[in-house]
């Protein structure tokens, strides 16, 4: 079972989910089944983490020819880039099944399918395979929002579906173009990312293909002008779906940029990095400011998540080791913090039937443990030193300043923007007097507290002693940067902020 652990991690949840959807079993049994499946995945993930050497390059690879005539392979593998994204999802999913106790059976089933397909998208190293999983992982979300979503679910569903499908189909076109280009250049078919990286592309076609990829990923992340689906989708979705979207799926967008776009389109990437970085930073500020105006706590968190994704994406486009490592680190950090924030909101909704900030208040008195956990997650998301959020944001800001002073300074403002809406929300929800709605709020049960504890601890550990994580991330990041470097020199970006020369490099 362990020699092809990745396949197991992909297909076990999918099968479990399908079984769960087909069989007429009770909601509670469904939850237990899902919990069991996810815990198996978690165990596998932990073994994976310890088996992972972090020397750089793919590990646990599995390659099978599935369409030799077109060189399409079923090839999986993980490296420092994908490892932690995979582990994060493996870690967070059991949590959902533990704390989200009264979701419907269908929700649980879709959740499992989502986990499996996302794992596939994370592990796939063949572009066609990746595309297949990339499309599939949207379907469970689509059904979750559409079937179990809130009152305004339909527009939200349609929006997210059309956006993402449009993006991914254009990506498909780009992928096929790459494949054909590879065939014409090397005489045989292949869609494996490693091979396509050797392509020598140029001209408008390359730019268009690049655009195809970036569009798909930018929609998923989402980058600034394409973010409009996000608030509605996040708000209308059931808590579980929101959790999946924010914690893992958005990250896969960033991950895919690093994994597939950078090695293949060095030149185009370097050329348009500035533009993309701008959109990232603008999105960060825009959504951050928009968050302050929200009345619905979930919507506020949605905007905050979008804002953070902006800065995470920025880290990719800065094209230096600090920023990239920071991004990869922040992917995990943000997944954990925002993920459980959304879970907490889900619990609030479950227990008090309202997400309106004005309806809440004084919860800190009623539920100190809940408030304490929430506060830690919140502080991580505003990047307080000592929590995981700080390391990532600090590295990204550092890298951004190296990349371009103005963007770096703007990126810095996340320190302020984030804290504004978060404190505002925290004050209204947790402080002040409790009203008749919140006075009945029950604190976390010991089980739930124990369920959340690992994640909380992870947040703190990653803030206090991040080096072990970074040590596994950095080599992979180095490779990416190394592959970019010539192109960067071509695009001759300033290696240092203006007014500074480096006797020291």
């Amino acid at each position: 079972m362990f020699e092809n652990v990745l396949s197991t991690m992909i297909f076990l949840p999918v099968l479990a989910g399908l079984v769960l959807l087909m069989l007429p079993i009770s909601q509670c049994a469904a939850r237990r089944l899902g919990l069991a499946a996810t815990i198996i995945i978690l165990i596998l993930g932990i073994r994976l983490a310890f088996g992972f050497s972090g020397a750089g390059g793919m590990e646990f690879s599995e390659v099978r020819e599935i369409l030799p005539t077109l060189g399409i392979q079923y090839s999986l593998g993980i490296d420092g880039i994908s490892l932690f994204v995979l582990l994060t999802s493996a870690l967070l999913f059991p949590l959902v099944f533990l704390v989200m106790t009264n979701q419907t059976k269908g929700c649980y089933g879709n959740l499992l399918i989502a986990q499996g397909t996302m794992a596939g998208a994370i592990c796939a190293t063949d572009l066609i395979l990746f595309y297949i999983f990339w499309e599939l992982m949207l379907l469970p979300i689509f059904f979750m929002i559409g079937i179990y979503g809130g009152p305004k679910k339909l527009p939200a569903t349609i929006k997210i579906m059309l956006y993402t499908v449009a993006g991914s189909l254009l990506m498909l076109a780009a992928i096929l173009y790459l494949g054909v280009a590879y065939h014409s250049q090397f005489g045989h078919w292949s869609f494996s990312a490693a091979n396509l990286a050797n392509l020598t592309l140029g001209g408008t076609a390359a730019v268009l293909a690049f655009a195809g990829f970036m569009l798909a990923f930018a929609i998923k992340i989402p980058l600034f002008p394409l973010h409009t689906w996000l608030p509605d989708a996040y708000t209308e979705a059931p808590p579980t779906a929101t959790f999946v979207l924010s914690a893992i799926m958005a990250k896969i967008g960033v991950y895919a940029v690093i994994r597939f776009v950078i090695p293949t389109f060095e030149v185009e990437f370097a050329r348009y990095a500035l533009l993309l970085a701008c959109s990232g930073v603008i999105g960060m500020i825009y959504c951050g400011i928009a968050a302050i105006g929200q009345k619905d706590i979930k919507r506020l968190l949605a905007f905050s998540s979008a804002s953070h994704m902006g800065i995470i994406a920025l880290g990719v486009f800065c094209m230096n080791i600090q920023a990239l490592t920071g991004t990869l680190f922040q992917i995990v950090a943000h997944a954990t913090s925002t993920g459980i924030l959304f879970l907490f909101v889900g619990m609030l909704e479950e227990r008090m039937g309202s997400r309106e900030i004005s309806d809440l208040g004084g919860i800190a008195r009623k539920a100190p443990v809940f408030a304490f956990f929430f506060a830690i997650a919140m502080l991580a998301s505003v990047g307080l030193p000592g929590t995981s959020g700080f390391i990532g944001e600090f590295l990204i800001i550092l890298g951004a300043i190296k990349f371009n002073t103005a963007i770096g300074v703007l990126a810095g403002t996340t320190l302020i923007i984030g804290v504004c809406y978060m404190l505002w929300m925290f004050q209204r929800v947790f402080f002040e007097k409790s009203n008749e709605r919140t006075s009945s709020f029950k604190d976390l049960t010991p089980i739930e507290a124990l369920a959340f504890l690992p994640v909380i601890l992870l947040i703190l550990i990653m803030g206090i002693y991040p080096q072990p994580f970074i040590a596994k991330i950095e080599p992979a990041a180095k490779e990416q940067i190394a592959s970019l470097l010539p192109a960067v020199q071509v695009a001759n970006y300033t290696v240092l902020p203006k007014g500074q020369v480096s006797e020291h490099k």
Binding site: L172, Y177, H183
Partner: protein, 471 residues
């Protein structure tokens, strides 16, 4: 001569079956369902025979029979297989359909088999008049099938339109044939090919004109852009199983012959390439725009059929010398046939009396009432939309790749764009089925046939999708 007979054994079987059934029908000896089963058996038998290796014809591609009138090769064989399968499933689903709609007689199945016979002949035809005759054979049958419900004014009107326009196109075809004959003093494809090879295509105006007329007729039959309007009405007017049959088998046959005809000679195709390009683009987008506007499911499917014609035309354009291209058309046709037949099969038992469940509204909340049917329909729709790992995805995948390969990048991208548009109406049905509450669900007493048929086809959608991977 023996080796001439062997490849057309399936043809013989089908023809024989048709005749026998007609005899039986004449004496009202058997029950409807029996007739259905009988025709299913005929198709199944022919299918099996078709699968069997038939002598030398496998070795020699374009091996000619009857002095170059017919031909069998891998291409025609697979096309024939698809058509037979279509016939089989149509017969299967129509049994359930006629449980609720009582205008069926035994002749229905005869006509079905006869039309299949014509189609089989068409796929093999290597000679213009043979083409014409086989074209007319199944056209006539299908005219009748469309208008089979004599009590319904709409179907009568549908058949009128179809007949008028069909005959119109047919006459164009004959005229074209006449001109070609005039130019090359023969109507055999081989002769035409050699003629073009000798004195070029554009040099002889009669030939150009003739080919133009012929293509006109073909494009009409496959409902490409300027001649697409009739499809909507005819599909709407015809009864559900017939519509499914037309949408799949007919299209397969015509495309088979179209490809045969266009691949006569590079020059012949090259001359029409630009025109075909624009026709394709317009077909894609016209189809999408019409489909988005529809509120009736059958009409929507008809319009989406136009879009799929567009994709197939992309393939036709892109078909070149490379390994993929010939078969991708058949692959796409198979994928399309599976999902379309599947939807029509499910419609034929969900439709109820006089197809009263036809608009999107009627499908609201179906997932609650009949979860499995809804799931199956979802699968078919996703396949049509080209979501992996269904058949539709692989089909699109092949077509787009080929288009890129033959340098038609623009066409490929436009194809992708149109499939983005098509998400719109496919999703719409899914949303109606899943995300809305049911309004007055009515129960249907369904015979097991159509549901089984739906199930098999749903399986087929995945099978065809994964087929390239397993070999």
């Amino acid at each position: 001569m023996n080796c001439d007979i062997v490849p057309i054994i399936p043809l013989g079987i089908v023809g024989l079956g048709a005749v026998i059934l007609m005899m039986l029908a004449a004496f009202e000896k058997i029950h409807l369902e029996v007739a259905a089963v009988f025709s299913m058996c005929v198709f199944a038998l022919a299918f099996v025979m078709q699968l069997l290796p038939t002598g030398p014809s496998d070795m020699a591609p374009y091996s000619e029979l009857f002095r170059g009138m017919l031909v069998t090769n891998g291409f025609t064989k697979v096309a024939a297989l698809i058509i037979l399968a279509c016939g089989f499933f149509t017969a299967m689903s129509s049994t359930s359909y006629f449980r609720q709609n009582s205008f069926c007689t035994l002749e229905f199945y005869c006509l079905l088999i006869f039309s299949v016979w014509g189609m089989l002949l068409l796929t093999m035809a290597r000679e213009l008049i043979t083409v014409f005759i086989s074209l007319e054979i199944f056209s006539l049958c299908i005219y009748v099938l469309v208008g089979y419900n004599r009590r319904s004014a709409t179907s009568a009107e549908a058949v009128l339109k179809y007949l008028m326009l069909g005959a119109f196109a047919g006459s164009f075809f004959t005229m074209g044939t006449a001109l070609v004959y005039g130019a090359v003093r023969s109507t055999g494809f081989a002769a035409i090919a050699t003629f073009i090879a000798e004195n070029g295509f554009l040099e002889t105006p009669a030939l150009v004109g003739g080919v133009f007329f012929i293509l006109f007729a073909f494009l009409f039959k496959i409902a490409a852009f300027p001649f697409h309007a009739w499809v909507i009405d005819v599909y709407d007017g015809a009864s559900v199983p017939v519509t499914g049959f037309m949408a799949t088998a007919l299209k397969t046959a015509i495309f088979a012959v179209l490809v045969n005809f266009l691949s006569l000679d590079a020059g012949l195709k090259g001359a029409w390439l630009d025109i075909l390009f624009y026709i394709t683009v317009f077909t894609l987008f016209a189809g999408n725009l019409i489909a988005i506007g529809q509120s009736n499911l059958k009409r929507m499917l008809a319009a989406s059929g136009i879009v799929h014609t567009g994709y197939l035309l992309i393939a036709v354009i892109a078909v070149g010398d490379n390994a993929l291209s010939g078969n991708i058309i058949l692959f796409y046709l198979a994928a399309y046939a599976a999902s379309t037949l599947g939807i029509f099969a499910s419609l034929s038992y969900l439709g109820g009396q006089d197809e009263k469940r036809c608009s999107f509204d009627d499908f609201k909340g179906l997932a609650k009432v009949r979860p499995y049917s809804a799931a199956a329909i979802t699968v078919f729709l996703l396949s049509m939309a080209g979501i992996p790992p269904t058949a539709g995805f692989m089909g699109k995948f092949y077509i787009i790749t080929t288009a890129f390969q033959s340098g038609q990048a623009l066409l490929a991208v436009l194809g992708i764009v149109s499939s983005i548009l098509s998400m719109w109406y496919y999703l719409r049905l899914i949303i109606a089925m899943y995300f809305h509450e049911a309004n007055e669900p009515f129960e249907i007493e369904a015979s097991p046939f159509a549901p089984i048929c739906t199930l098999i086809l749903a399986a087929c959608v995945f099978a065809i999708g994964l087929y390239p991977m397993v070999i």
